[in-house]
């Protein structure tokens, strides 16, 4: 604010002519001898200037003909040395108070940077062009102007103050169970349910049985092949005596989390190529789902072997070690009903009793 206002030194610093004078110029008819002086001096300066301009200089023909930067670059044998300053992200994160901070993972110089997306997956294009307008139309609920929805009671109930111990107690859960379901808002243009991520999880029960880790390696590579994503391994949380699995000791499961481009490619491949080839497959069970918009189904090892990535070099995988897997489709829908609407529009069939 202070900078905007004219400084009190400004008037003094500026030359006299550029400061607006208090007296109006129009009424000034008096002439002074000193008025003539600047004009004469200006003409003197003009004569002192060089008449030749750099704009009028001509380039010799030979120089213009030889100027070809592309050919020069192509003819160069060795690469030019790189720029002198290149930022390298620190290898370690040393905490928030350290002066040398790594750049955010979205920055190309970050060590965690993942470039992409490089393609527009078909499933995503289908969703954008066809499925999302359909879902928005299907879920449209018309309310006349001036309509006010009836007020709902609070989901967390107050305690009746029958006991003095009710004071400052946390609110009671909803009636009929302690689970607070997700709130489903009316579906508008900005919250159309879409596929958020896909999780491929495989529990290998033989991982600890024969004291060799090959089962887990094969499972990890198979899941990586079908998903384009490096897998994570997990240790068992519980003892399973018949399989010789001890909690916290044995790595028994692999999981791949798919987001964005990988997810859409996997989804398209799954729906268009793999699921139709499964023998006597009825679809995903209608009661599947965690009632907050995530649908899970399983594939047995024979079905996993139908993926084109495993088929192309089927001999690489020991046939008995090809894993089955659970595939969870996480959607941004708040209820299973919306999630099923989305997934069936995207091409996943459901069968049996539909439980919402």
């Amino acid at each position: 604010m202070a900078a905007r206002e004219p400084s009190r030194y400004l008037a003094r610093a500026l030359p006299r002519t550029s400061v607006p004078s208090i007296r109006p110029q129009g009424f000034l008819s008096r002439r002074n001898v000193s008025d003539e002086a600047p004009a004469r001096r200006l003409s003197d300066h003009l004569t002192e200037l060089e008449s030749a301009s750099s704009l009028s200089t001509t380039v010799p023909e030979s120089a213009a003909a030889s100027f070809d930067p592309l050919a020069r670059a192509a003819a160069r044998k060795n690469q030019l040395p790189r720029g002198r300053y290149q930022f390298r992200s620190p290898k370690y994160n040393r905490g928030p108070l350290h002066p040398h901070q790594p750049p955010p993972p979205s920055h190309p110089s970050s060590r965690l940077f993942v470039p992409g997306p490089f393609s527009a997956p078909r499933a995503e294009q289908t969703f954008d062009s066809t499925v999302s307008p359909d879902i928005m139309t299907l879920c449209y609920v018309h309310t006349p102007p001036g309509f006010k929805p009836p007020p709902k009671s609070a989901r967390l109930r107050e305690w009746d103050d029958s006991s003095p111990y009710h004071k400052n107690r946390v609110l009671r859960g909803p009636r009929g169970g302690d689970v607070l379901r997700l709130l489903r808002k009316p579906i508008k243009f900005n919250n159309i349910p879409e596929i958020e991520r896909i999780t491929i999880h495989s529990y290998v029960k033989n991982a600890a049985a024969e004291r060799n880790s090959s089962w887990l390696h094969v499972a990890g590579i198979a899941v990586q092949a079908i998903s384009n994503v490096r897998v994570e391994t997990f240790k068992s949380k519980s003892n399973v005596a018949p399989w010789g699995i001890a909690a916290g000791r044995d790595s028994v499961a692999v999981k791949a989390e798919l987001y964005g481009e990988n997810m859409h490619h996997f989804f398209g491949k799954l729906v268009d190529v793999v699921l139709p080839r499964i023998k006597d497959w009825e679809g995903v069970k209608g009661s599947s789902g965690d009632s907050s918009g995530n649908i899970t189904f399983g594939l047995i090892p024979e079905n996993v072997a139908l993926f084109p990535e495993l088929e192309i070099n089927y001999d690489m995988y020991p046939p008995k070690m090809i894993p089955g897997c659970h595939i969870t489709l996480h959607t941004t829908a708040k209820t299973d009903k919306d999630a099923r609407l989305l997934l069936s529009a995207m091409g996943i069939p459901f069968y049996g009793k539909i439980v919402n």
Partner: protein
């Protein structure tokens, strides 16, 4: 208090954080939650993410439509023989994909006419019965007529119902009359 909070950083419930040096990131949690993040002093390695090499593959579906995707499979083209275009689950109304029985001699139809249930024996049954004896044919004809009459009546009733919908308030007695025969049925 200050020593306590510097050791275990309670992110949200600090109200009197006067002496502790907290990171610049302010707690965004709601005030009811409390989580304790034990401070880790060691440096954590920033691992470069590992990504399998992917190829672009052209998938040709059984009806000839194609699309590309990124995959770990090195084959440039994948031709599918069985996909959503020719599987019955995705094309439930396609007669080509349904395994329709071939019944050229009409033996299956004859069996169904004799022992089948009502939904099995719809059109061909009547034909065969009429071919057998004229009495049955007459009866069937009469039945069909009665059925048609009934249908017509019902349709009239429905039409009356539709036309009388909005006019119930103003002139009730003349509009009510067509409803009476519906009760007789």
């Amino acid at each position: 208090m200050s020593m306590h909070t510097s050791l275990r950083r309670t992110a949200a419930t600090i109200t009197n954080s006067t002496t502790t040096i907290l990171p610049t990131r302010l707690p965004t949690q709601s005030s009811s939650t409390t989580f304790i993040c034990s401070q880790c002093r060691h440096a954590t390695l920033l691992r470069r993410p590992k990504r399998p090499y992917t190829f672009t593959q052209l998938i040709t579906l059984s009806d000839g439509s194609t699309f590309t995707h990124r995959t770990t499979s090195p084959a440039p083209i994948y031709r599918s023989t069985r996909d959503t275009r020719n599987s019955l689950l995705w094309n439930p109304s396609s007669s080509k994909l349904m395994n329709v029985e071939e019944d050229e001699a009409g033996r299956l139809a004859a069996f169904r006419a004799r022992f089948g249930r009502s939904y099995d024996a719809s059109a061909p049954v009547a034909d065969e019965e009429t071919a057998k004896d004229p009495a049955a044919a007459k009866k069937a004809e009469a039945d069909a007529k009665a059925q048609a009459k009934e249908d017509q009546e019902e349709e009239d009733n429905l039409l009356d119902l539709i036309s009388a919908f909005g006019q119930n308030e103003a002139p009730p007695p003349p509009e009510k009359k067509p409803f009476k025969p519906s009760g007789k049925k």
